[in-house]
Structure formats: structure tokens, C-alpha cells
Symmetry: C2
Subunit: 194 residues, 2 copies
Amino acid sequence: MKYDPAQKTTRGAARTLKAFSETMLMMLGEKPFEKISVNALCEAADYPRATFYNYFDDKYDLLTYCWYRMRREVHLDQISGDPTDATFMAAFDQIYHLFDSHHDLLIAVVSHNPLDSQLVNHFIQYFTSVFTELFSARAKPQALKTPVELVAKHYSSTVLLIMEWIFLGQHPTTREEAEVYVRELLEPSFTCVE
Amino acid sequence: MKYDPAQKTTRGAARTLKAFSETMLMMLGEKPFEKISVNALCEAADYPRATFYNYFDDKYDLLTYCWYRMRREVHLDQISGDPTDATFMAAFDQIYHLFDSHHDLLIAVVSHNPLDSQLVNHFIQYFTSVFTELFSARAKPQALKTPVELVAKHYSSTVLLIMEWIFLGQHPTTREEAEVYVRELLEPSFTCVE
DNA sequence: TTTACGTTTAGACAGTTGTAAAACATTCAT
DNA sequence: ATGAATGTTTTACAACTGTCTAAACGTAAA
């Protein structure tokens, strides 16, 4: 992101950032991402084009900021790297809740942006990288030969796959069912034992 | 893809398609995908712009055709949906070979296009969808509660994750080691039994 | 050879993109 | 309040995109 959330944000800048990201999300519910030009976006947000480029490198950079805002709404701190660990399921529930709380927005967006579109891809990729970082931060040394980093990526991409299936692929699924999915996919032995 | 590989291709059309895709792959080894304009591409391929748009919708459409050509080089037919099945590992080996045979090209491309770039994303997404189709085509009815389609996606995205790790992330890994990875990630119980 | 057909090409078009320089507005310490 | 620093807006620009039209081309049947 061009804009650095770490640095202090003036009231004016915050207002501008909010206006652009909310306008983008609104327009995503109306038309495909490819059809949204920076021109039209600025028109709708009622800001000059130069201001847009003041805060963002391009459309994609704004998207990243949109996902950042969404992600920021939920605390995702107590994650363990081990799916048999109880804190893993707690983290999974938090992630489920994050997506669930934006259910309507996601439905609207997907209705104009297919699952294999650049937009959905960008969305998935952003959250995958966020979760990968969280998973690998507390990864335990494991008995496997597979590198820890690869395992962390595997966990997060699997979790995202399930979220995509449920919330973007429009397969209504309760949190409890979703928990079964993630256990079956990540720990097949777990299911056999039961 | 705008161009339909199913329809008969005249000799002239085949030459044009080949020229564009090879030029694209060559340029990807020289600069990032975002910096490659259709103009420059046509210049390098020595074809007029109108011809480009005759065959492809845009840059991305040409990319898809590039991956299609790559994919076509290898037979990927005998795939089973079950990772404990021997044919699954046979298929995995074929996929490993496919990427391995383009090792130099992938190195060159990645040196100008980071792992989280649009380009690499597009590449991964294309092959994930190809493998998903193959895996679900022969998916066996399973004891899991997780939908078959979701499981197929999980298999293919995991396989691609490993390929990305090895060939794009530049972690030299033998085929035997790669086989260990895929077994550990997809069938942890399998490893425990051994 | 001529005709007819589909494909390829040249050129032009309106709209978009990202950048740069300068004008303008705010904020805040002095 | 004054002035410096910072942030915002205007305007202009060169380059690119995707589409269109009409002309040029090749090929295969009459």
C-alpha cells in the first residue's frame, strides 16, 4: 500500500481515505471491477483525480486498503499454527465471523464479479497473506519434513478456500459445519479417530 | 479465451498465435507484466495491433493462451481424486515434471514478477482450475462431510502451493521430497502410520 | 480469369492512465 | 497574526487501450 497505516493520519486524510474506500465498495456492488475507472470513482466520491493518486498507486492499491479496513475490524491475534490446538479453532471462528459480518456486501460484490475475476483473486490473496503471517508467527516446531512456512501457507489457503466456498460461492454453511470442513481437510486423521 | 482451441486452426493462425505467445513469454523474462503494453508486444512480435485484438481480448487473454500451450505439452489424464491412491502420486509426478521442464523460463519470469504479482497469480489460478477439473472428474464418493468439489479444490490448490514453493519460490526440491510434502499436507495420518 | 468470401491490416477515434508543475488551502508553532 | 510546512487541487501532458471502418489481401469455387 502506498498509504502507510502506521503513520499518523490527519482528520482530513482519514475522511478522504474513508470516502474512497467506501465508494469503491459501493461501486463493486454495482458493476465489475474492470469497468470501474479511476475517473468514475473520483466522480462518485466527489474528489479530484490527483487526490486519488495522492493516496493510492492505482485501483488495486485502493482495493488493498479496502481489505485492510475490513480486516482491521476484527481482532485476529490469538492464533496457533496447529489445527489440533484449541486456539486454532478459536481463530477459525473469528475468521468465519469476519466474513459473516460482511455477508451482504460479499453477495453484492460477487454478483458482478465472478469467482475467477481479478477482484475476487485480489481479495483472497490479501487475506491469505494476512493469515499466513498469523499462522507462521506462532508456528510450533513440527515433526514433519515439510517446511514450516509451507505448512502455514497451506493452513491459511485452506481456510480461505472454505471461506470462499461458503461466502463467495454462495453455499450457506453454519459455523459448526465449517469447523467440520476445516478439520476434515487439515487433519484427516483427526476425523478417523473420532 | 477468445480463441477457441477446439475449432480448426489454419496454418497462418497457428503461426500468429505462436508468435504472440512466444513473444509474451520472452518479454516476461525481461520486464514485469504490468510494464508490457500491447503496443510493445506487437512491435516485438512484428504484427499489427489489430491482429492482436483479432485473436485476444487483452493482455490477460494472451496469458491464458500461454498457459494453455504450456499445459498442453503434457498428458494429464490418469488422475484419481484420492491421495492415497497410487494414480494420484503418478499425476503429481506428471505435474512436477511439467513445471520442472519449464524451470529456466519460470526462474526468468519470477525475477521480474514477484510472487504476489498479478502475473504469478494468474498463472497459479489457471493451473489450479485445470487440476481441480481433473481431480473432480474422477473423485470417488467419500466418507467426509466436506463437499466433493471443495475437496477437489483443496487437493489442487495444495499441489499448486507446493509447485509454487519449489519452482517460483526458488526452493530447489527433488521430486521425491516434493512427494513427501504432498503426502504430509494432504494425508497426515498416512505419515503417522509409516 | 474472374468472382465472392472471410481474414488481415492501417488508420483513426474517444476514453483512460499515471505523472508533473504550479496554484491553492490548512495547520500549527512562533 | 505571520510564515513555514504540509497537504490538496487544478491543469496539462504523453502514452496506452479497446473499438471501429474501410481498404488490402489471400484463397477457393464458378
